[in-house]
Symmetry: C2
Subunit: 237 residues, 2 copies
DNA sequence: ACCTGAACACCGTTCAAGT
DNA sequence: ACCTGAACACCGTTCAAGT
């Protein structure tokens, strides 16, 4: 059933050599079709017509493969439109992210679980968030309000809701983590936000934000919006 | 916390007989400790000091066990406070749900994936949503606005964001599904909502709501709230 | 009629034998 | 030095042998 490069019924086999890109593309397609539960190293290999072990020369393990899949699909989100007002720009970008998530329904779950397992979101997610923060900043939002805004947007940003930058107390620093100066250069808006939040939280141990406060802030903004809507609808029926 | 039967050679006496409740309690505790990935039938059995196959007399399979775990933790959410205004009542209930989710971080993912796999959410989830709709209705929300409100609340209701009642076109009706009249008696508010939505969508095939419209409605309400906040902050610094 | 150990078909990954 | 088949330690669930 699994055709090897024998001369029998299969044509000349390695016309397209295996590489990371092809592996990720096949993995994304398989997850789109059958969900992430049906995705296995063995199945990817089978779809590519190679032996399972061949994958391990291009991806370290399955987790690293999932990280690569995340960056593939997040890379499909349209870049920000340069010259629109902040609300239009955010709206377009979020709707583009939603279209991506409709194509790849497995993505929110994978992004969430991988972000929880890693110390930091994957590079493409970082870039997406950084440019989203940039839109708010250009639109005149003070940095603290941008922080609230991200929590308010919540699951509408990437389809899930858990906090992306959660403090995990018992975690030793990653030996090959990105040095702070490179971080600041690559993700200037995220860095600015992180510094502002850390400053606000000076008294608290750790640099995480006050999740309870942010949750209630977003909840109350939502409830106030609904109350305003209810009153408007009642007064103008 | 989780007791293992220590001695293999000691004659095992069933001091506490196995039942569904004990199995679910142990499963929830194991998931709380090690996450849902570390949860296996074999491990639950080991924690209870029984052979894996013994579980299958009380739960049909692992999916049914996950459904039971959902109902256990959703049952931990405080019931609605009877005599508060709608905003206070919703706020309290959602904050109670959040406390539950902090105790059981695996719950959103399991609820979401099981709801997707089943035709309908589990009974406890149905009851939670029904009573939440009831709060809005008592607070003077027209039924259509309640529908929007649930979409706006989104992930804040149960920690995840995908639609709970998604149309899955190719699904044969469950033979032992609840009859409509029992449905209407058990979940009156949900039924009212479903009827209103179906009426609005008369022209469209299927009874699902317009997800794209609801997404944009919620997104715009959020963005408007943020803009109002920005202006207020700018004018009163 | 009941209980359960062995077995089946999977999985990610290691490892050493073969080239 | 490379490649890869076999093996390991898991998994959910079936099934038939033993009681």
């Amino acid at each position: 059933m699994v055709e090897t490069s024998t001369q029998a019924d299969a044509p000349a086999q390695p016309r397209t050599p295996l590489n990371r890109e092809r592996i990720l593309g096949t993995a994304v397609a398989l997850a789109d079709e059958g969900g992430v539960d049906a995705l296995s190293m063995r199945r990817i290999a089978q779809a590519l017509g190679v032996v399972p072990m061949a994958l391990y020369k291009h991806v370290a393990n399955k987790n690293e493969l999932l990280d690569g899949m995340i960056d593939v699909v997040v890379g499909e989100i349209d870049p920000p439109a340069g010259h629109a007002d902040w609300k239009t720009a955010v709206r377009r970008r979020v709707l583009s992210a939603r279209r991506m998530l409709l194509r790849h329904p497995w993505a929110p779950g994978v992004i969430e679980s991988r972000t929880k397992a890693r110390a930091t979101p994957t590079p493409a997610v970082m870039e997406y968030l950084d440019s989203m923060i940039g839109i708010f900043r250009s639109g005149g939002f003070p940095i603290d309000l941008v922080h609230h805004a991200l929590h308010v947007m919540g699951s509408r940003l990437l389809g899930f809701s858990q906090e992306l930058f959660e403090d995990t107390p018992g975690r030793e620093p990653d030996p090959d983590a990105m040095p702070p100066e490179e971080m600041a250069a690559r993700y200037p808006h995220l860095t600015e936000l992180a510094r502002a939040v850390a400053h606000d939280q000076e008294s608290v141990v750790g640099s995480g934000c006050d999740d309870q406060f942010e949750f209630e802030f977003a909840l109350d903004l939502t409830l106030d919006g609904l109350e305003r809507l209810r009153l408007r609808l009642r007064d103008t029926p």
